[in-house]
């Protein structure tokens, strides 16, 4: 399939994977492998010698072909997000940063004002900025204007599995956008990821749906297939809807000839 272009980076996989909420580091790593993902989100956390397994940097590096996209989770303001980005880059060596500023723990919805300010600053510092945003067409365009590499509108609340509830707005964002649009958050199943790709998203970011599946590695593979199917369908030209039925078989009446 045609590669996903983000800044100067090119990825053959269009499935971005989050690493939170897995039952174990092993389960997460198996899912990363079977998903074929090349861009993976991680989050900063204070070192704790009792939870050495927390540290994902080593294990993820060993897989190979993986680029890290740290997020700014925990930041409630632009200032905090910028600081988290600086620390993350120090640790990851990656120019990618997922800007994620959600002050309210009940719904984890992004703050458009703080997100806009943080993205403006980080883009000017040369980060490849990937903001997690509400499905807001004008905000998306303004983030493009300040130099974001992609916009990542939410499908529904993080971890809710309520799917692409924002489809109408996301399709406007796609129509107007000059940068890749990636749906992030809320996708529950591969069919939803496939639908996002059919709409014209350049990629999808999934975490909970894989992490809490009974078999995360199998679910990761299923998402990978569905994302490819959706991209392929988009380029193959999806049929238009019709208000009426259109026969696929000849309606020859020979059968009635003798009745």
């Amino acid at each position: 399939m045609d590669p996903l272009q983000l800044g100067t980076y090119s990825f053959s996989s269009r499935l971005l994977l989050g690493t939170g909420k897995f039952g174990s580091a092993r389960a997460m790593l198996d899912a990363v492998r079977s998903s074929g993902t090349q861009l993976v989100t991680v989050a900063l956390r204070r070192f704790n010698r009792e939870q050495a397994e927390d540290d994902l940097f080593g294990p993820l590096s060993e897989i190979g072909g993986i680029t890290l996209m740290p997020n700014t989770s925990g930041a409630a303001t632009a200032k905090e997000a910028v600081r988290a980005a600086h620390i993350s880059r120090e640790l990851s060596g990656s120019p990618f940063i997922k800007v994620e500023i959600h002050p309210n723990p009940h719904h984890l919805m992004p703050d458009p004002i703080e997100t806009y300010e943080a993205c403006r600053i980080l883009a000017s510092e040369g980060f490849l900025v990937m903001p997690y945003i509400p499905a807001d067409p004008v905000l998306a365009k303004r983030l493009e204007d300040v130099g974001c590499t992609s916009v990542m509108p939410l499908g529904s609340a993080i971890g809710s599995g309520q799917g692409l509830s924002t489809a109408a707005m996301v399709s406007i964002i796609i129509r107007e956008s000059g940068i890749p649009v990636i749906v992030d958050a809320g996708l529950r199943s591969p069919s939803e990821a496939c639908a996002a790709m059919e709409m014209g998203c350049e990629a999808v970011l999934v975490n909970s749906a894989v992490a809490v599946a009974r078999d995360p590695a199998a679910m990761a593979a299923a998402f990978a297939r569905a994302v490819e199917a959706g991209r392929q369908a988009r380029t193959a030209g999806i049929m238009p809807k019709s208000g009426t039925a259109v026969a696929t078989s000849p309606l020859t009446s020979f059968l009635g000839s003798a009745t």
């Binding site: 989050g18 690493t19 939170g20 909420k21 897995f22 580091a25 997460m28 989100t41 991680v42 989050a43 900063l44 956390r45 204070r46 070192f47 704790n48 010698r49 050495a52 927390d54 540290d55 994902l56 940097f57 080593g58 993820l60 890290l68 740290p70 997020n71 989770s73 600081r83 600086h86 620390i87 993350s88 120090e90 640790l91 990851s92 993080i158 971890g159 958050a185 970011l205 975490n207 909970s208």
Partner: protein
């Protein structure tokens, strides 16, 4: 040598005066992996950690990457 008080990852802690950031990491078992170190909001790069001596009331954060979406 006298002990000094610092804050490590939000917790009060005492260490020998004159200790370096590198020494603190070794004491904390944080020297076997890639970590980010922030002292009083300033990032301390790996190459600076031996030279950087901790002082009374320093705020030290040692960070790693954990799972996140």
């Amino acid at each position: 040598m006298p002990m000094i008080k610092i804050t490590l990852n939000g917790q009060a802690r005492e260490i020998a005066g004159g200790s370096s950031v590198a020494e603190l990491l070794a004491l904390s078992g944080a020297d076997r992996q890639q970590v980010a170190v922030v002292v009083n909001e300033q990032i301390v790069r790996p190459e600076e950690r031996k030279a950087r001596i901790l002082e009374e009331n320093d705020q030290v954060d040692v960070l790693v990457f954990a799972g996140g979406g």
